[in-house]
């Protein structure tokens, strides 16, 4: 570990990707993540990397497809409307089993929306924003240090499962500054080239990377193979944080920026004698259903809080299986619920239960 540095979230993610051995970045400007694109534009040419500003997010995702085909670590970052444009390519990459890292710094939507922090892209991220049976592995940091750490391992995860990985952040993670420590540089020369890449049929049969099989029985086999991988990811990759849950009588579930704000609410509420805890899913897919189900058996209610009109709450309900009441509070459109605002909501529900 190196010394602490005060950096912006977008730059933290960019530098971490570089340290993880990513030398290829393709992007298109969009607020609130343009600083990441700019950071890569400054940094990559100086270390023998490739930076290219593409003509659109549609082109970006396909450039990633190309780089991934030839076996190099590659990433892009964008914000909500741009991420929508990438869905076609992500679906192709998932089927063709091409690893790559995507960053979506979410802003208010739908449509052009606004440029303030939001969490309205949860469905798109976790339920497949493109067509067909596939998943992205979705990592949701709530601090800049976690953004660094998750970005650093995201390339390994992408390669392990040969699948696109998404860092799902929001405008607040992207724009704020916080001290972070960066991990060591991965030696790019020592990264092993996978045995499936396209690098020329020299002394071997040609390799084909496609997302296509005209025979439905063959395509079914391909998809079942993907599902097999996803089951493994469900077994191995679920990550979450428990915060003051041991004696909790009530439970918050939230991710990313919202979860961070809720930690303050947990502390404020406990000062007023309300024993509330927080489970913060770190992987949004695979979602930590089991952990939330365990907690459901012990708490009076679960309050899911999101910077949206309620998307993750559906996964919470699936996890809870009716074992406790699942409540929701959210503010969409780039409005960030403040700690006292959520505290009032919590108190209102606690009062109802106690009466």
């Amino acid at each position: 570990m190196s010394e602490k540095l005060m950096v912006k979230g977008t730059e933290a993610i960019g530098e971490s990707a570089i340290r993880a051995g990513c030398r290829h970045y393709f992007g298109y400007p969009i607020t609130p993540q343009s600083e990441l694109t700019e950071y890569m534009a400054r940094r990559l040419p100086k270390i023998g990397g490739v930076f290219l500003q593409a003509e659109s997010e549609v082109a970006v995702v396909n450039m990633l497809y190309g780089v991934s085909c030839v076996g190099k670590r590659v990433m892009t970052s964008t914000s909500s409307p741009g991420f929508s444009l990438m869905q076609e390519g992500i679906s192709y990459m998932a089927c063709a089993e091409l690893p790559a890292v995507f960053v979506n710094v979410m802003r208010g939507g739908p449509g052009l929306g606004d440029i303030q922090p939001a969490q309205g892209d949860y469905f798109q991220a976790t339920k497949g924003g493109g067509h067909g049976d596939y998943r992205m592995i979705v990592l949701a940091p709530s601090t800049l240090q976690e953004a660094v750490d998750l970005t650093y391992i995201s390339f390994d995860i992408a390669e392990k499962y040969r699948n696109p990985v998404l860092i799902l952040a929001d405008g607040m993670i992207g724009q704020m500054m916080e001290p972070v420590e960066f991990p060591e540089f991965v030696d790019v020369e020592k990264l092993k080239e996978p045995d499936w890449i396209l690098n020329g049929a020299d002394g071997r049969d040609p390799r084909r990377i496609t997302s296509f099989d005209i025979d439905p029985h063959n395509l079914e086999k391909i998809i079942l193979h993907l599902m097999e991988k996803y089951r493994k990811a469900e077994e191995n990759e679920k990550r979450w944080e428990d915060f003051m849950v041991d004696d909790a009588e009530y439970l918050f579930v939230a991710y990313g920026t919202m979860a961070r704000i809720l930690k303050t609410v947990v502390k404020l509420a406990r000062k007023e004698g309300i024993k509330v805890g927080l489970i913060r899913p770190i992987t949004l897919w695979p979602f930590p259903y089991e952990r939330i189900e365990e907690m459901a058996e012990r708490v009076g209610f679960i309050l899911a809080v999101e910077m949206s009109t309620g998307q993750m709450v559906e996964d919470v309900r699936l996890a809870v299986k009716g074992k406790t009441e699942v409540l929701f509070y959210g503010r969409p459109g780039g409005v960030i619920p403040s700690p006292f605002e959520v505290l009032e909501v919590l108190k209102k529900y606690v009062k109802k239960v106690r009466v």
């Binding site: 549609v58 450039m63 780089v67 690098n199 040609p206």
Partner: protein
């Protein structure tokens, strides 16, 4: 001497190494097969097979990767130049070519081809223009001639509704990133040889680090046009190539 000549003849007729043993599955009279063979011969002659990557499109030639004996992938519809850009930027030592139809390149993929050309990507583009969407059943393409009947222009292409035939090389020739640009046909033996020479130059534009190379080949689609193969080939020569003038538009390879 006699034996050597005989041997040469045999070599000439041999299947190019850059084609697999798989028989073409294209319709009778379709020109994809001829163009495939020419591309394969050029790859053989340039001795680049072992480092060549094919980016196939969505369209009739979606199966091209089964016929070329090189590493390959299939890009999303229209996106082949972006996929090729990613490959070439990450591995400049590889030779990357896209093989695209008119729907793929001249409709859904116009943005990708224009910007790849403008950036002077070191890639080679084989562009098959047969005036229709073949694979989906002969619908109107941006290259369909005025008045031409297709399944989505059953009363003929009407310029007031559908606009005019798109001329890709005429459009791309202004881009400084383009190093070779030609339009050819394969409708007679002389044209076949011209096409092969053009394809070779389009690869040399890449290999010699000059810029993007593109060859548009006016091709027959007897099935889509409702013609027999001979009639279709004649139509390329007598009608199709009147709208789309053949020739070399840019040649920095020399």
């Amino acid at each position: 001497m006699k034996n050597a000549e005989k041997l040469k003849t045999v070599v000439f007729l041999k299947r190019p190494e850059s084609l697999t043993d798989k028989e073409f599955t294209y319709c009778p009279g379709c020109h994809h097969g001829i163009v495939h063979r020419l591309v394969a011969e050029v790859i053989d002659e340039l001795k680049i097979r072992e480092r060549t990557i094919l980016v196939a499109p969505v369209g009739c030639s979606v199966f091209a990767y089964e016929f070329f004996n090189v590493d390959g992938t299939v890009a999303p519809h229209g996106r082949a130049p972006a996929v090729a850009t990613g490959m070439k930027r990450a591995r400049p030592d590889l030779v990357v070519f896209t093989y695209q139809g008119d729907g793929d390149l001249a409709a859904i993929g116009t943005s990708e081809i224009i910007h790849a050309a403008n950036r002077g990507e070191r890639i080679t583009v084989i562009f098959i223009n047969n005036a229709v969407y073949g694979m989906t059943g002969g619908q109107m393409a941006p290259t369909t001639l005025i008045g031409m009947k297709t399944t989505t222009s059953p009363y003929g292409r009407d310029e007031k509704r559908d606009g005019y035939p798109i001329h890709i090389p005429e459009m791309l020739k202004e881009f400084k990133g383009v190093a070779f640009l030609a339009r050819t046909t394969v409708s007679d033996p002389v044209e076949v040889i011209r096409t092969k020479n053009a394809i070779k130059k389009a690869f040399l534009a890449q290999i010699n680090d000059l810029g993007l190379g593109l060859v548009e080949v006016l091709s027959a689609c007897p099935t889509g046009w409702g013609m027999d193969p001979v009639e279709a080939t004649r139509w390329v020569k007598e009608v199709f190539s009147k709208e789309y003038k053949t020739g070399v538009f840019v040649d920095k390879v020399k």
